[in-house]
């Protein structure tokens, strides 16, 4: 398979050339998946934390559901969002099908359960340590949730990154609701699918390598941020 060597050469050439189209595609990938990550954190973190600290009937059913939803197939999410946003669907009037907004919605639905389920576990573990203190000080639950989320922030960063990773790597949802339209909704994964279908396997693999480099950069940036933050916190 000469495709491998060719792909590595191409991948580096692509990155170094800073090709305009490639930058646009990378920019859109980051914009869509980071937005989805932020939205999912805004919903998933409080949701996960409230499930973690509250006791109510059916709680274990909710936990099982959240965990199961982590396995939502992207293509099913894409289909559901398509049917919602289609001109024949209930939200057709929004006119956002085949736009980055539709892609952000689809990815948010995909990763919110991941953020919620994982943060539920993280917060619950931490809450076991704090519970007695909260009780003795009669801390109201919304304050407790805030304190727990803040104290678990470094672990939750990893949770957010897991969500980002899932979002930036999926193709099934964005190709249906985005349509893989050149210069409008083409992201890294749909571009890879396109080049594969054109039979240009070397270029497809090269784009895959570029995607991995981006994921590496995002994770590296967050880790650096985290260690700087830790240093500040304990300085």
């Amino acid at each position: 398979m000469q495709d491998f060597g060719e792909s590595f050469r191409l991948a580096f050439a692509l990155v170094l050339s800073a090709d305009g189209d490639l930058i646009e595609i990378i920019g859109l990938s980051l914009r869509v998946s980071l937005s989805a990550m932020l939205i999912s954190c805004a919903i998933g973190l409080p949701l996960g934390a409230s499930v973690a600290i509250s006791r109510f009937p059916g709680r274990s059913a909710v936990m099982v559901l959240l965990n199961a939803l982590m396995g939502l197939p992207p293509v099913v999410v894409g289909l559901l969002v398509y049917l919602m946003l289609s001109n024949a669907g209930p939200f057709g009037w929004l006119q956002i099908l085949y736009s980055p907004a539709a892609m952000i919605i689809a990815q948010s639905i995909l990763i919110t359960p991941i953020i919620a389920a994982l943060s539920r576990q993280v917060i619950e573990d931490l809450h076991n340590e704090y519970a007695e203190q909260f009780r003795s000080l009669c801390v109201p639950s919304h304050v407790a949730i805030g304190a727990l989320l803040w104290d678990a922030r470094y672990s939750l960063l990893t949770v957010a990154l897991a969500g980002f990773g899932r979002a930036v790597a999926e193709v099934g949802a964005v190709i249906i609701v985005g349509g893989n339209i050149n210069h409008l909704t083409r992201v890294m994964t749909t571009a890879i699918a396109l080049e594969t279908s054109k039979g240009d396997l070397a270029l497809a693999l090269a784009l895959g390598l570029v995607l991995m480099i981006i994921a590496l950069c995002v994770n590296g940036a967050v880790m650096t941020l985290r260690s700087t933050a830790v240093k500040y916190a304990y300085a």
């Binding site: 937005s35 024949a88 085949y98 050149n182 279908s197 700087t228 933050a229 500040y232």
Partner: protein, 278 residues
Amino acid sequence: MFERTPLTIGLAALMFLATHAMPVQAGETSIILQSTTSTANSGLYDYILPIFKKKTGIQVHVVAVGTGQAIKNAKNGDGDVLLVHAKSAEEKFVAEGFGVKRFDVMYNDFIIVGPPIDPAKIGGMRDALAAFGKIAEAKAVFASRGDNSGTYKKEMSLWKAAGLDPAKASGKWYRETGSGMGATLNVGVGMGAYVMTDRGTWISFKNKAGLKILVEGGDKLFNQYGVILVNPKMHAKVKTHEGQAFIDWIIGEEGQKAIAGYKLGGQQLFFPNAQPGS
């Protein structure tokens, strides 16, 4: 709670990046063209759409899916213009009121590609029906689209005309990939199978390793593309003016010339055949 730690500043920067990384598209006029992978993958649109945009300022966004899905999307009103290749399905689309009128745009032809060892001995044949008969007789591996695309519909009509039912051999020598043309060709390359493909996709396909054209030229393999404006009476959001402008252009002199002008490796991929004044 939100002290100015590097963490919060970093998150704020991320948020800014996420929302401002790309300028929002300014209010340019654009239409959505529901079309097929065979035309998009061949690079035709990358060649002709800039010419159209230069003339009219209208940006055409192409959603490239199989003909069946393109028609379904258009029925849902998720597109302004439909350009596909399954004449009877297109005529049905218009007859049901989803489309305004159908126009011929261009044609090319289908070919049957396969491994050079050619186990069914169909190399050099022109009659697609006879070739399909030999493939079935030899139980030679055949990779089919197996979706609802124009190419698949054509393939089905050929099997039927040859008096054969490949579905009986589904999973044995007859393999339905359920994917696009390029993906099916990749499968064909992988298992040395026969594949029926449109010539445009084949010429632009870069992973031909191990497959070659075996059957071409017969009149049964004609591949006609048509264009239809989605009916604004069904979906008020259809951009009638811009969509009609695109259709007038592509079936007019300039668009037809642009289609004929698209060549890959010296070969013309599509042959314009709109009837003037139709």
